[in-house]
Subunit: 359 residues, 2 copies
DNA sequence: GTGAAAGCGCTAACAA
DNA sequence: TTGTTAGCGCTTTCAC
């Protein structure tokens, strides 16, 4: 032993045992050397590190987790149903990036669990969490009442939700500032003379629809505008909502002068369908989109919407999660349990006209 | 024991041991009952299943994998750099869905590893694979030469690539039919009288650029058109390529009469920038996009492009992967090691004009 | 500073 | 049909 070619392991040996045999030391020492424990001869440590590198040794995670009770992995559950995925395509990529920035500091890895559209989200979550692959979870697309939250609280697994919910009043969460978006949108429109302001929200139980709806009502009321249920549109498929939306708009006795969208992808089909019917966004009807999105940025007229740094959101999400894990809590002392994430209005041309022309 | 309330485990006990204690039988029997082994009294099995359900027991995956040497989990590595992510991410969502359809048949789960843009893909892959969380890998965004492939071949972990590469000539892969796309696009344009046909491909070493480029040259040659390097555009950021592309087009002595795109998201900014310069897609220049995408479907004039069933692609990807894993190989006997995935031309209006008007 | 050994939760081989 | 036990790879006592 000790005379084998690089890249070869001892016959019939695997993992740390092969490495130890190869170096002619005990597996305990190898483990301590690799894990940076202080009581290891520097020279021994160097030999171990070098051999590990040369042989491409990586510790088996199952062995480690079994022993340590920790996996150093954080899970992020996303849903693939178009309904839940209204946030648009680049959204999660951007958030992942930010989350990983923080996790990397602690040598934690992020794994994503994509829940199939047909599968029950709770069953899916409990199956994957039950596997014990993760030390904590991030969930998204929260429902107004969300059984996943009850489940996670029962398991005592640390978690955070990207999105608030009526379930789990004590859980950690971060959500977008729908209130702020509704208020600034309505204020802006009212200042331009608008009174008939419609709202489109996703159908179903995704909570953002409810939250946005409430915020919209509050904003209207603040400006002394009566809430008109006829101006609320629940759309089934956000990506192809244009048809239904425009049909519904035209069925009204009078076209609203403005419409707020609660998902950026709504703007795509809405623009098209409006134009097909000869209704010009930004001229015949004011449109305020939701989030700034590279994929809506080419729309003409340019879409007034709200911007956000996805990476920052992801970082804060991760930090707030870690603040709830005993092993990391000390490092993130100031973190609140939950947070409304502000969004900044980006002025476009899609709502840039006054109802009462100045003279 | 046996008299505790539901939802409670024996004091200080966890996992299968607590369950066994609770039922007053041995852990071996519990394990066999849960795993559907034949030699278990049906009544015992029923009791075990019921108790497991009631107590919310899920076997710890680390324990299982350690013992069985398999994890029943398949990994899918994606990259978050905008460069590698030219496909738009409804692409991966669609593929995941198909992959999971197949994996579910075998009670395998899919986990996604999102590689941060700043991290070296090989380091990332080796770290996550090294953890031993997966039995097989799917990789995407293959480079012309791709060290990940060499790495995976060395580890002997079964894997498949979504995208071909010059590395790993014997590996399993499925790739989109860039040749077919190039040929049908060029043929269609040539039939309309086009001779000056440009191509936009992503800059960098992502292989699809090279493959598309080669296919484009071959298609031109087949129609007796000389390849003109001035009509090849390498774009840095596919999402915001419009600016550079239009500037480059206008810098040419003569505007090409048509342009082929190798990524669907290119069309968004290209349309906008063309229109800003007063160049009308479908009138002044023919545009053929790459993949049919719900998010480009609202473009006016409608984009001629190529369509694909992402779910079917995902299913075939998964089946081809499983065909390479001994435990499943028998179930998928007919699968080729690799496959060019056909795409169907979807006629739009973005290239619907003739260079030589008919009379 | 190092080695020996226990044990994390689970399954499979074997004994009963 | 069930119980007992070894051992998967690893880390962490505890001796030395």
């Amino acid at each position: 032993m000790g005379t084998m070619r690089l890249g070869e392991m001892e016959e019939g040996m695997k993992g740390i045992r092969a490495l130890a045999r190869h170096l002619d030391i005990s597996i305990g020492t190898v483990s301590r050397a690799l894990n940076g424990k202080p009581d290891v001869n520097p020279e021994t440590r160097a030999r171990v590190m070098e051999a590990a590198r040369a042989l491409g040794y990586t510790p088996n995670q199952s062995g480690r987790s079994l022993r340590q009770g920790v996996t150093n992995t954080i899970g992020f559950m996303i849903e693939m149903s178009p309904d839940a995925n209204a946030s648009g395509d680049d959204f999660f990529m951007g958030v992942f990036e930010g989350v990983q920035t923080v996790l990397n500091r602690h040598r934690l890895d992020l794994v994503v669990f994509p829940c199939p559209a047909e599968e029950n989200p709770v069953d899916y979550l409990s199956r994957l969490v039950g596997r014990g692959m993760v030390d904590a979870m991030i969930i998204s697309a929260t429902r107004r009442r969300d059984d996943r939250i009850d489940f996670l609280e029962k398991t005592q697994l640390p978690f955070i939700a990207l999105g608030r919910s009526e379930s789990g009043p004590d859980m950690r969460w971060i959500d977008l500032d729908f209130e702020g978006v509704a208020h600034s949108s309505v204020a802006r429109l009212v200042a331009k003379g608008h009174r008939r302001i419609a709202l489109a929200i996703p159908d179903g139980d995704i909570n953002l629809g409810h939250v946005f709806h409430d915020a919209y009502r509050a904003a209207l009321s603040q400006h002394g505008i009566a809430y008109n249920p006829a101006l609320l549109f629940r759309v089934a498929r956000v990506l192809e909502c244009g048809d239904d939306l425009v049909t519904a708009l035209l069925a009204l006795p009078e076209l609203p002068s403005a419409i707020l969208l609660s998902s950026e992808v709504m703007s795509l089909s809405l623009y098209r369908k409006l134009q097909e019917r000869g209704i010009r966004p930004g001229r015949d009807i004011a449109v305020i989109g939701f989030r700034d999105n590279p994929r809506t940025s080419f729309l003409t007229p340019s879409l007034t919407c709200h911007s956000i740094s996805l990476s920052d959101l992801g970082q804060t999400l991760a930090e707030t999660l870690l603040a709830g894990i005993p092993a990391f809590a000390d490092l993130y002392p100031g973190r609140d349990r939950n947070l409304i994430w502000p969004m900044a209005l980006v002025q476009g041309e899609s709502d840039d006209f006054d109802i009462v022309p100045e003279r």
